[in-house]
């Protein structure tokens, strides 16, 4: 079902936790749908010095969070904003079609954290022009198997 890379990031997630006095915090998803991601960033100049996450969700949601934090650690804000869910999927060696939304959520959570940082500091990023942290980004396919 999942690649080895996904299982590794799920079983040994990088950067789990919180940052006290974070410069930006973003949370996306909702409990009804079963996925919530929260990302904390610590910014120094325009560099993301530290990033941590907490995720309520399935294996791929946790793995996607872990990979996303790893990908942006130490990057500039502009670089971090260029992160796409496709990169997250690629880095994980692929996700099952019904789990692609987890990578979207990771991208959104990161953007939400940067948005929070930007708002607090009255900064404007071109890449966040159309970003709405409260938008819903879920698009599961409905397939049910019970036994």
């Amino acid at each position: 079902m999942y690649t080895e890379k996904v299982m590794d990031h799920f079983m040994n997630p990088r950067n789990v936790g919180e940052i006290e006095n974070a410069d930006g915090v973003g949370e996306v998803g909702n409990v009804k749908c079963g996925d919530i991601m929260r990302i904390y960033i610590k910014v120094n100049g325009d560099v993301i010095e530290d990033v941590k996450f907490k995720t309520f969700g399935c294996g791929s949601a946790i793995a996607a969070s872990s990979v996303a934090t790893e990908l942006i650690m130490g990057k500039t804000i502009e670089e971090a904003l260029a992160l796409t869910n496709k990169q997250v999927v690629d880095e994980l060696g692929g996700l099952p079609p019904v789990k692609i939304h987890c990578s979207v959520l990771a991208e959104q959570a990161l953007k939400a954290a940067i948005y929070d940082y930007a708002t607090k500091n009255d900064l404007h990023f071109e890449a966040l022009k159309d970003f709405d942290p409260n938008e819903e980004h879920d698009h599961h396919d409905v397939v049910n198997i019970e036994f």
Partner: protein
């Protein structure tokens, strides 16, 4: 690595005795049971003896038992077959909100054909209200279909009383007994059951075989037409190997039923207690006593079921979940929602179902593993720190 299977409600391994019984029918006695030559007649004898064996375990006679490809086909046949054949009587079917999809999706299909379906709600333990059932019956009610034991939360309905109500109002009563058969004593007459779906692979028999009990006199249409197999009611070359295996499994289940129930209930209660006492913010789903002997259904708040399953799997434990993520759907199991659990709690569900190869050590290992795994996931959860941030 240790591998502990705790998903017996999903499917079971074929028992060695069952496989042994099947073996001659693959390469030696492989005939078509409808052929008149020796190969065919041997197959026919095996087929009919299997039918007699299984019928006896239900307290019925062979000519009321029809073989199918499994529980889903039996469910589809029972509902579509009876509703379509009894249009002269009415167009109303009563079922529950917690049925297996084999029933629920068939009901949806019947609604599209113009039939009307009432879905009875259940209480927080998963029981329907007998009063509500009786009140739902109208002049147009042809059939009641209520599952014997729920596959997810393990709750067993008061089938005897349901059967009495059906009989009293001259309504046909079908029960999906896929989870019950082999796990509880069933006598179709005692329970006033008119049709009953069962499946081989849930009782240590092979997959791809099931049966539908049809009381004599019940009007039912075919859903698979063709040859005259199964007394003209279900076409297709008989799966003799599978049916022989099913019969052996049924025979073993019947012979060992009391012991099976006693052993499993002990393990079940030990597991449930171990979980509830050791893990806070956890709850035991379903009825505390009136339940499947091997089913433990629990919810852990603040975490999601799929991750839980994967971490348990990494520890060698195979379980299942009504989590939305295991199914790729947005909503968690309709059964957990039906017993009133909010979405966020239903997402964190786990079903561990035990069977004849489960041991006490397995149970204790599962409890220990769960403690660890639930803790690990909660430490990652943005929901947990809200309630337990200070701990």
């Amino acid at each position: 690595m240790k591998r502990i299977y705790m998903d017996y409600s999903a499917t079971t391994p074929v028992k060695q005795e069952v496989l042994d019984a099947m073996m001659p029918y693959f390469t030696e006695n492989f005939g078509n049971a409808s052929s008149i030559h020796g190969f065919g007649q041997e197959a026919k004898r095996a087929l009919e003896s299997a039918r007699a064996t299984i019928a006896a375990t239900m307290g019925t006679t062979p000519e009321t038992l029809y073989f199918t490809a499994g529980g889903s086909e039996s469910d589809n046949w029972a509902l579509k077959g009876v509703m379509r054949a009894n249009k002269a009587k009415g167009n109303h079917l009563i079922t529950t909100t917690i049925e297996h999809h084999g029933i629920l999706h068939t009901c949806n299909a019947l609604e599209k054909e113009g039939f009307e379906v009432t879905y009875l709600e259940v209480d927080d333990k998963g029981l329907i209200s007998l009063e509500a059932l009786e009140a739902a019956i109208t002049e147009k009610t042809v059939m009641i279909s209520i599952m014997f034991i729920n596959n997810e939360i393990g709750t067993m309905q008061d089938v005897k009383s349901i059967g009495e109500i059906a009989r009293k109002h001259k309504v046909i009563f079908h029960t999906d007994a896929v989870q019950a058969y082999g796990n509880v004593k069933i006598d179709v007459d005692t329970f006033n059951i008119d049709l009953m779906s069962v499946s081989s692979h849930k009782i240590y028999g092979p997959k791809g075989v099931g049966a539908l009990y049809i009381r004599k006199g019940i009007k039912i249409q075919n859903i698979i037409e063709g040859g005259a197999q199964e007394r003209n009611r279900r076409a297709g070359t008989e799966n003799v190997v599978g049916i022989v295996g099913f019969a052996k499994a049924a025979e073993l289940a019947e012979a060992q039923l009391d012991e099976h129930i006693k052993r499993l209930s002990g393990l079940r209660d030990r597991l449930a207690k171990g979980i509830i006492e050791n893990i806070d913010y956890s709850r035991y789903n379903g009825h505390p006593t009136q339940r499947h002997p091997g089913n433990v259904s629990v919810c852990f708040e603040f975490i999601e079921g799929e991750g839980l399953l994967l971490m348990l799997n990494a520890k060698g434990i195979a379980g299942s979940s009504g989590s939305a993520c295991t199914s790729g759907s947005l909503d968690p199991s309709h059964v957990l929602l039906a017993i009133g659990l909010p979405h966020e709690i239903a997402h964190g569900s786990l079903r561990l179902s035990m069977g004849d190869f489960t041991t006490e050590e397995d149970v204790d290992y599962a409890i220990e593993s769960l403690k660890e795994v639930v803790h690990k996931l909660r430490m990652m959860s943005p929901l947990y720190d809200r309630v337990a941030g200070g701990k």
